[in-house]
Amino acid sequence: MLPEEAPDEDQELSLVDLVDHVLNKGVVLAGEATIAIADIDLIYLGLNVVLASVETILKEPS
């Protein structure tokens, strides 16, 4: 049986892994825009808010 919550939540390592898994891995379908300059596609992932917030998440008490 799988746990309802993230495993070992009291451990800092688990929080780091949790953030890594949820914010840094997995399929991205939304927030993607492609800008072409001189026939070269530049892909912008609209996830800046998430990436900018990681430090805040790690500092915030769980």
């Binding site: 799988l2 914010l23 891995k25 399929v27 379908l29 927030g31 996830l47 808010v49 915030e60």
Partner: protein, 200 residues
Amino acid sequence: MLYAYGVVRGERTSSLPDRVPVMGLDGARVQILRAGNLGVALSEMSAWPEPTPQRIRAHNSACLALIQAGGVVPFRFGNVFENEQELCAAVEAKAADLERALERLAGCVELTVRVPLDPGERPSSGTDYLRRKKRELELAERLRIELGPALKDWRQEIRHGELRATCLVAAGGAAELKAKLKAFKPEPGLTGPWPPSSFV
């Protein structure tokens, strides 16, 4: 606004919410929307969700619950869509890849294994450096062999003085594998099970 957690098998579309109540971000109930041959796990949001620790845990927990319900290809946090049409179009545009991933990952979880490496002396020569790299790779191979046939897939990296291995295993076999790893030397740190997001 719709927040998407991942894709599941389409044939589960009608039965999943009743059989397995899954809670998502901010306590919202996860529903399944049919998108071609696939189903998308989603919940409704009034605004773009700032990624608080509670929401990150909720996203993770919802994906774990969907594994129990038959398997999921997990999405990264922050996949938000204006409406069902936009979400279905995004899923259907990548349907072939998502279906293959679902076939491969259904019923699987991942474990993160960290093995500390001996810091030793600073390499005194190129040969010395290569010998150390060889030892590190041999350790990784020893760990992979130890995990045996239960291992469905494997990612490894060496950084910050540790070997970090991500192991894809059947959800039912995770506990056994964790017990097995306790006998490995040097003793590894282990977290999980996690949704198989490293293997999408």
